[in-house]
């Protein structure tokens, strides 16, 4: 859902179906939004064709995946210890 120039909430189809310009991420993948990777469209021309996705749905899928992973962590433990914390502690101990 977007806000139009008149200030009314509205839906602009063209706006929703125009993702950011793709950037090449690897030989077989591109990026559009930050953290959104897609298979290179050249590889989806014969057996599986790329689907048109509105931007809001692309972002919803990406964000809901983060929600899901966060929920899964809480399901298994109350807290997640990060590796970067431990690595920093080890490096500090070794530098003494």
């Amino acid at each position: 859902m977007a806000t139009s120039e008149t200030g009314k909430v509205g839906y602009r189809r063209a706006e929703q179906y125009t993702p950011p310009a793709p950037e090449r991420a690897s030989d077989v993948a591109i990026t559009t939004f930050e953290h959104v990777w897609e298979v290179d469209p050249r590889l989806m021309q014969t057996w599986v064709l790329q689907q048109e996705f509105p931007n809001w749905d692309t972002l919803r899928i990406m964000n809901s995946r983060h929600d899901h992973l966060e929920w899964m962590h809480k399901h298994f433990a109350d807290k997640v210890v990060t590796g970067s914390e431990l690595l920093a502690e080890i490096e500090a101990e070794d530098s003494v």
């Binding site: 959104v36 590889l43 057996w47 399901h75």
Partner: protein
């Protein structure tokens, strides 16, 4: 006595339904095409044009052990197959009705019957999932740590019937260690309680034969578990799941072994991703696409417990990884990838043709139990088998290998190769190629002193041919036990070559 593979006539099905109505309500007996087809499908790929062979004649939804027993007695009376179905997530076709008959779907037996906070046990119906169970246990600060890659959708009864393997089994044990005892309906319809001794909540008994293991991992050929008492643990305060990158397989392999042998009490598992797996992830997985090209193998280790223990143990493992040339991949990828490992069945899958085009593929996972010393040899031989398939056809795609510690000493590993299979193109010729490949994969495991399966079971076409070789005299004993407990061969017939038990015994 054997069951003929011909399907039941409509009249015969009606007759069975009338008999079932004496013990079940109408809504517990399902005969529609939709209900039956929905209970024919499992995740392991199979030729689409042959799915019709695996459709049951009817399905039932019992709500108690007594109802299950009554259903099995009726099946004996009418000499028709009975196939137990729990989550239907198994990868070795245990829940697949090979000869029609009655599918016993236990999903309605999903109650928590007793939570014993003093002895730290819970007694549940076989139809509850670990995810739903743990949501309830978390209210009491408790946890049931049976953690398959199908965690959200597999059920306790299926874990018993297939002898489940857990991702965090190196810390907590696997299904066989976590299930203390259970009610079990034998193939004749008798009800038995089986555990260590006759204990309900006993974790170690020396009374009598150790029968519990016999009735776990039989893939539904020896009866149906209906209610189980499970061992509980405190819900972990903290989790740590670092992922490390390596520029070669050999260093990653050495690191995995060192982590597993370190003797850290909170150690719940180490996982080695080989070069083929990294290449596969680099194609499609958002976490790995941006990784530098010198990332060629990965190692993950997981710890659960109190935070102070996890921190101390984690630092020890980080130092070991560093000594082996590891590069920490960062918090986001470490935490995200590990969280996703509990739920691999929700992942949409596709593979590539040799020309690079994306094709829809299903996931076939071949597994084995392999000693640490043999992992490189098995890995090399298995990839060669899949490469040979790939040269012949685009139906198969090598998605790489994982090896997971099975225990906390590093003695053996759940070793698996993931193969994408283009099911829509899986004709009879391609299926035969695949069955041969499965047989070859199993032969490599045995040649390396391993076992054909650590996790899934070994009763699919191909690998099952080598089960008598693996078990030797033990396989003959399996036949004797099957014939004794299931005199009419009604319990999940056609699995594990057990029809041989009835040859010459008509």
């Amino acid at each position: 006595m054997t069951i003929t593979p011909e399907r039941l006539s409509v009249d015969r099905v009606d007759e069975v339904v009338r008999a079932l109505r004496t013990v079940l309500a109408d809504e517990q007996i399902l005969t529609s095409k939709t209900d039956r087809y929905n209970r024919a499908r499992v995740p392991a790929p199979f030729p689409v044009h042959r799915w019709g062979e695996r459709v049951p004649d009817l399905a039932v939804l019992p709500v108690s052990t007594e109802q299950v027993a009554a259903i099995v007695r009726i099946a004996n009376e009418y000499r028709i197959p009975v196939v137990p179905r729990d989550g239907g997530t198994g990868l070795s076709d245990g829940a697949v009705p090979l000869r029609g008959g009655i599918v016993v779907d236990v999903k309605r037996m999903n109650q928590i019957h007793e939570l014993d906070l003093i002895n730290r046990t819970v007694t549940v119906g076989a139809g509850i999932s670990m995810l739903k169970l743990n949501e309830e246990l978390a209210k009491h600060g408790l946890f049931y740590p049976d953690d398959p890659a199908s965690y959200p959708c597999s059920l306790v009864g299926g874990r018993i019937g297939t002898g489940g393997w857990s991702l965090i089994g190196s810390r907590y044990g696997h299904t066989r260690d976590l299930v203390l005892s259970f009610d079990h309906v034998l193939p004749t319809g008798e009800i038995m309680h089986v555990g260590d001794g006759i204990g309900q909540k006993i974790s170690k008994s020396s009374s009598g034969y150790q029968l519990k293991h016999l009735f776990m991992g039989h893939q539904g050929t020896l009866g149906i578990a209906t209610r189980a008492t499970l061992k509980l643990f405190p819900k972990p305060e903290a989790e740590l799941s670092p992922f490390w990158a390596f520029d070669n397989y050999d260093d990653a392999y050495a690191c995995t072994g060192a982590l597993a042998r370190a003797g850290v009490a909170t150690f719940a598992g180490a996982v080695l991703f080989d070069e083929y797996k990294v290449a596969y992830l680099r194609r499609d997985d958002e976490a790995y696409i941006p990784q530098p090209k010198d990332v060629r193998a990965l190692v993950c280790s997981v710890m659960y417990g109190w935070e102070d223990e996890v921190r101390a143990g984690g630092k020890r493992l980080f130092r070991i990884a560093r000594e082996h040339g590891a590069r920490y991949l960062g918090d986001e990828i470490s935490q995200g990838d590990w969280a996703a490992r509990h739920d691999r069945y929700a992942t949409p899958l596709h593979g590539r043709t040799k020309a690079g085009q994306v094709v829809p593929m299903s996931w076939h996972c071949e597994d084995a139990a392999i000693n640490y010393s043999q992992l490189p040899a098995v890995s090399k031989a298995w990839h060669a088998i899949i490469a040979d398939l790939r040269r012949k056809t685009d139906v198969f795609d090598d998605w790489g290998m994982f090896t997971y510690t099975s225990g906390n000493t590093g003695v053996d590993y759940l070793t698996e190769i993931d193969v994408g299979i283009w099911e829509q193109q899986l004709d009879d010729a391609a299926w035969e190629m695949w069955v041969k490949a499965k047989r070859d994969i199993a032969a490599v495991s045995l040649a390396n002193n391993g076992s054909i399966s650590a996790c899934h079971g070994s009763c699919r076409d191909g690998e099952v041919d080598l089960v008598p070789d693996e078990l030797g005299r033990g396989f003959d004993l399996m036949l004797d036990i099957k014939r004794t407990l299931d005199p009419n061969n009604i319990m999940n017939p056609g699995k594990y070559l057990l029809d041989r038990a009835y040859e010459g015994h008509v």
